[in-house]
C-alpha cells in the first residue's frame, strides 16, 4: 500500500491551506447582517436583499437578532434615542463583529450635520465603523460594493496571530 503524502491527499480528499485563510474564507462567505433600517436608506437595503440585487449570493443573510449576526448595517438617521440602543445591541453581538455605516446620515449626520439636537452626528461616535457607504441614500449597488469591501477586509485579517 502506497502511503506517500501525495497519494494520501488524492485518496482522502485532503486539502492544504493556512488556517487563517480558511477561517477568513468561512467568515467572509457568511456575513450575516443585523438589519438596522432606520430611515429611507433601509428601503435601499431591503432592495439590495431582494431578488434583483440578491445580497444573499454574497452570503449576506438578514437576521433580526444581534446574537446571530456578524455585521450591523446601520442604514438611516440615528437619533439620540436610537443611539443608546445601537450601542446596546452592538455590545450583544458575538466577536468578530463589523459595522457598515450606510448613507450620509449614519456617516456624518447627513442633512442634520450642523443643526439638529436630536440626530447623532455620525454613528462612529458611539461604535467603531469598518465600512462607510456614501450616498443619500446609496443605491443597492453601492451597498454591495461596501459589503465586498468588508469581505476584502475580512480576508486580510489574521485572526490566529497577533498583529505586531
Amino acid at each position: 500500500m502506497d502511503m506517500s503524502l501525495v497519494n494520501s491527499f488524492d485518496r482522502d480528499n485532503i486539502l492544504v491551506a493556512r488556517v487563517d485563510d480558511f477561517l477568513n474564507w468561512a467568515r467572509a462567505s457568511s456575513t450575516w447582517y443585523f438589519q438596522f433600517g432606520l430611515a429611507c436608506c433601509a428601503i435601499e437595503m431591503i432592495a439590495a436583499a431582494q431578488p434583483r440585487h440578491d445580497l444573499e449570493r454574497f452570503g449576506a443573510m438578514p437576521r433580526a437578532s444581534p446574537r446571530q449576526a456578524d455585521v450591523i448595517i446601520v442604514s438611516g438617521t440615528v437619533t439620540m434615542t436610537m443611539a443608546t440602543r445601537i450601542k446596546r445591541l452592538y455590545d450583544q453581538m458575538a466577536e468578530p463583529k463589523y459595522i457598515i455605516s450606510m448613507g450620509s446620515c449614519s456617516n456624518s449626520g447627513g442633512p442634520y450635520w450642523q443643526h439638529g439636537y436630536h440626530v447623532l452626528k455620525g454613528v462612529d461616535l458611539i461604535v467603531p465603523v469598518d465600512i462607510y457607504v456614501p450616498g443619500c441614500p446609496p443605491r443597492p449597488e453601492a451597498l454591495i460594493d461596501g459589503l465586498l469591501a468588508l469581505h476584502k477586509k475580512i480576508r486580510e485579517d489574521t485572526p490566529l496571530r497577533k498583529v505586531s
Binding site: M80, T81, A83, T84, W113, Y117, H118, K121, L125
Partner: protein, 163 residues
C-alpha cells in the same frame, strides 16, 4: 356653520368662555379654566358636533411672551371647522387635557409636552414621546440651547474652523 355662527352658538351655551374674536382672525381664544367644559360642548352639541381633532400644536412667539396651544377641530358630518387657541405660561404652564374627549389628543399632547414643556392636566400618560426620557429641556422653545453631551455622546459636532 360659518365661523361667526359657531362663535355665537358657543357664546349662547357657555357665555364668557370665548374671548371676543378678532375680525378675520379665523381662530378664537378660550379661557383656560373653561376649556374642559367648552371642549365637551364642542364635541357633543348636535349643532356643533366637532367629532374630529385634526391637529393639536404648540406655539412659541419668543422668550417674553406666553406659549399657546392651537386645536384644529373638524366635524365630519356637518363639515365645518374651528381653530381654538389657549394660552399657557412659559414656566410651569398647564392646560386641561382633552385626551378623554378626542383620542387624537393623547399622543399630540405628549408631543407638545415633550417639545414645549406644557403640562396637560388629567392626561392618562404624561411622558415624553419623541425624545429620550432623561433628556433635559424642551427643544422647540425659542430660548432653548442644546446640551453639549447626552450620556457622554456629543450632541452638536464642534465645527469651528470648518467653514
Amino acid at each position: 356653520m360659518e365661523f361667526t355662527e359657531i362663535i355665537a352658538r358657543v357664546d349662547q351655551l357657555a357665555p364668557g368662555a370665548f374671548a371676543p374674536a378678532e375680525e378675520g382672525a379665523g381662530h378664537v381664544w378660550v379661557q383656560p379654566e373653561q376649556w374642559l367644559k367648552v371642549a365637551q360642548l364642542l364635541r357633543e352639541d348636535p349643532e356643533l358636533h366637532f367629532d374630529s381633532l385634526m391637529c393639536l400644536s404648540g406655539h412659541d412667539r419668543g422668550p417674553e411672551q406666553p406659549l399657546w396651544v392651537a386645536y384644529n377641530l373638524h366635524s365630519m358630518d356637518i363639515l365645518h371647522k374651528l381653530e381654538v387657541r389657549i394660552e399657557a405660561l412659559r414656566e410651569g404652564g398647564s392646560i386641561f387635557s382633552v385626551a378623554n374627549i378626542w383620542r387624537t389628543a393623547d399622543w399630540h399632547e405628549r408631543e407638545v409636552y415633550d417639545l414645549f414643556g406644557i403640562n396637560f392636566e388629567g392626561h392618562p400618560d404624561m411622558r415624553r414621546i419623541l425624545l429620550p426620557v432623561d433628556w433635559e429641556g424642551h427643544p422647540l422653545l425659542k430660548d432653548y440651547t442644546a446640551p453639549d453631551y447626552y450620556r457622554g455622546i456629543p450632541v452638536l459636532k464642534d465645527k469651528r474652523g470648518w467653514e
